[in-house]
Symmetry: C2
Subunit: 217 residues, 2 copies
DNA sequence: TCATGAACGCGAACAAAGTCGCATAATGAA
DNA sequence: TTCATTATGCGACTTTGTTCGCGTTCATGA
């Protein structure tokens, strides 16, 4: 399910149309574009899939894509949003809220990894999008990241309450660190320097390190 | 018929020319390009600085740039390489090898931050470069990252030896985590979501968390 | 019925990175 | 000198994401 723009900073739209009308045509097009894009991204990878090719397969003109998306990257990001939702759903489905925090975090990351590991372009383009300050994709990815961090924070906050973690821990910062560990570990993987499994292990090792700490106590 | 000497041992140059000749012209051009590029990047930012503008200011043709660099991004990366060296030099200049590991790491990161904080494009484009698998820029940045990680590892290894850190710590992984913390913290900053000082604090907080660990002992 | 306005679609055009084939210049060998 | 070689330079061209202006469709309100 998606409702990406709840409040559109609305300049007060003068006349809202009911959900039916010529919007249907638009929705069909949007779906066709996304389908074609996902296929072509899977076949050739993001950079080799041309907007003109995508448009052709979707049966519309290339420039029409911009009626529905603001940039090529947004085509992939739309997919990433869906995938993240899915991974969170999977996590929640059999999450043991009373399990040790470290374990819960670990499972959360594994769920995410399992879905991302199927398509390195998702990671890559999301990262690239964050190097476009001001663009909508950048904001989208950044806000997606914030949601991920929020979920991690939630888990860790619960652990802190249950005296599972140190009282002094700043859960927001801790969640950020965990998130950064995953992001960092995925870069070499997305560049083909390591395989998905090494990436997963790197993430888990990093999390273990963070939980245990480095200093002698 | 032709190019019989194109065996596979590429590194062996078939016909070495002395260091002087028309190479001088090339070196001058290369320097002029870099100078023009740095100026224009500073004036307008990376994305708004056009290769043709850079070429014009450097007094050569746009396509000639590709005799010296493989991509626009490489123009910035060259600068980043210099800057990193400089930051390491600064760190070493008054590094106290006997100081607590946490402090040394902290200082290392501050040195790095001080130089990077002056130009967010450096961070941004370096990150973007890592989303171009196969490109030379990607390899350059990745290898630069590895060097940074190596230095961090060196510091932490020393700490481990001096019983400053837990024996069980995997210093390579720990160094990676520290590095990832810095990378992750810089993304919101480069996107204008936070200022340089918040970025610095985020890094330091993250490192503190990592050193102390999350779990109750 | 007809004007209105909004969402959609399209081809042409633009911008800018990157490629190609050829020209030039400098060097050493014959 | 002359020739071969090689680094450098360049303008025309290609590619590709994106913009623009104009046309089309269609629900609504008078």
């Amino acid at each position: 399910m998606k409702s990406p723009s709840d409040t559109e900073a609305a300049p007060t739209k003068l006349a809202l149309r009911p959900d039916d009308g010529r919007l249907l045509r638009g929705q069909r097009s949007r779906a066709a574009i996304l389908k074609a894009a996902r296929e072509l991204f899977a076949e050739r990878g993001f950079d080799r899939a041309t907007l003109r090719t995508i448009a052709e397969r979707a049966g519309i003109g290339a420039s029409s894509i911009y009626r529905h998306f603001q940039s090529k990257e947004e085509l992939l990001i739309a997919e990433l949003l869906d995938l993240q939702e899915e991974s969170w759903r999977q996590f929640r489905r059999d999450d043991q809220r009373k399990a040790p925090t470290r374990e819960r975090v670990s499972r959360f990351l594994d769920c995410q990894h399992a879905l991302l590991a199927e398509d390195s372009d998702l990671t890559l383009i999301a990262l690239r999008a964050t190097t476009r300050p001001g663009a909508r994709v950048a904001a989208q990815v950044l806000s997606l990241n914030d949601r991920t961090i929020g979920l991690l924070m939630e888990i860790m906050q619960m652990g802190r309450m249950q005296a599972n973690l140190k009282r002094s821990v700043d859960v927001l910062e801790a969640a950020r660190v965990v998130f950064n560990i995953t992001q960092g570990a995925r870069i070499p993987w997305a560049n083909g320097m390591t395989d998905a499994e090494s990436c997963r292990k790197a993430i888990q090792t990093g999390v273990d390190l963070l939980f245990g700490g480095l200093e002698k106590s």
